[in-house]
Symmetry: C2
Subunit: 233 residues, 2 copies
């Protein structure tokens, strides 16, 4: 369900690029050539440039003065910082949600969880399904809507999107297998709806940190084989 027709060309290219980035279509750290993307989307450089500038503001790409743009490079240091920020902020907002969310919030959480539960985790090829990704995103977002704070929600969402850059490679590459992710989600949803703030926060924290741990384990095992595009030291 994409927006019907983006008012402006720039908006469309921005949305497409964003989806590609979050879908892991580009290697982290790789250079994004404006001219190439321009012809690819059938638009002028200005349009691509504007989209890039927006993406840079969100931290999904990086602007290198006089040298264009590249996909935000991954690093263990940043992964740890990002995880820490996410845990701090998402748990704080979840607490707010649990204490201030009403019946509509409970319903939204249960609905989002049900949708997530019914969406296949991976496609037959073992790749991350786009539908699941969307449902996952919606579930985590629903958890935070009880706080009724647009600012906090969007900050949390932005951080989550950044970590999606990592998670994609984690799941595709590290094969983060021995986890029952569905159970984790159910646990979080149950505790949240039951208004068990401490329990829910604990569960969410573990949920977030588990993915980080899996990726770290993978990075550890790869020491020495790192390339510029990947998990550089």
């Amino acid at each position: 369900m994409t927006s019907p027709e983006p008012k402006t060309h720039s908006e469309g290219v921005y949305a497409s690029l964003r989806a590609e980035l979050l879908g892991g279509a580009f290697l982290p750290g790789s250079k994004l050539r404006l001219a190439g993307l321009g012809t690819r989307y059938g638009v002028s450089l200005s349009v691509v440039r504007e989209a890039m500038t927006r993406l840079a503001g969100e931290g999904l790409v990086r602007a290198l003065p006089q040298r264009g743009f590249c996909v935000t490079p991954l690093s263990i240091e940043d992964l740890l910082d990002l995880t820490r920020a996410r845990v701090l902020i998402e748990t704080a907002v979840l607490r707010e949600s649990i204490s201030q969310g009403g019946l509509e919030w409970e319903s939204a959480v249960i609905a989002a969880h049900h949708t997530l539960q019914g969406t296949p985790y991976t496609t037959r090829e073992g790749h991350l399904g786009g539908a699941w990704s969307e449902a996952h995103h919606a579930f985590h977002r629903a958890l935070l809507t009880g706080a009724k704070s647009p600012r906090l929600e969007s900050i949390a969402t932005e951080l989550r999107d950044c970590s999606l850059l990592y998670q994609h490679w984690s799941i595709e590459i590290a094969g983060d297998v021995d986890r029952d992710v569905a159970a984790e989600h159910r646990h979080i949803a149950d505790l949240a709806v039951a208004r068990d703030a401490e329990g829910a926060v604990q569960a969410l924290t573990e949920h977030i940190e588990r993915t980080t741990a899996a990726l770290l384990a993978y990075a550890e095992s790869q020491t020495g084989q790192q390339r510029a595009a990947g998990i550089p030291a």
Copy 2:
């Protein structure tokens, strides 16, 4: 102390526009004409447009598809949300800072506070001094550096910058007078360095909320006279 010479034209215009916005040079909600700014800075539209796009990402201006950009309009609703987000995040980061900051952090806080203390609050005309503004910013930033988290710091800073849009009008117009702001800062600094997390968080919370309260009181007194441009008369 501005950066010597921005590599790119865009960077320079961005920085200038940003400073003007935070200095309250434009009325909130007012339209920003690209052509006008272009000739004003002696650059092409593309350059202004890129700067605007960046500022929109930070929330200082708003992009209206097919209608250009305007200074982010002020609203009581958003002020309350912003304040809430700031309190939640800044206090959480301050806690981290206090628990993890080392001696360098303590020193930085003390130094920043000393600088702030020695900088005049307002100019002779009663306007907010640019130097004080800078020192104030540096002080609050120093408080958070102990957490050693670039992401959290930049999120907190971004939120503070947004609220600067409000604070400017609060101080200039509402004449937020019967406060001993210097004492508030000293109190926060003392408690932070003394590692009294709860006390420091409490003091910081009151510090943030006091400005909001002053602006709200002003807005209240103006009920009925608000126009589309925002709170200011």
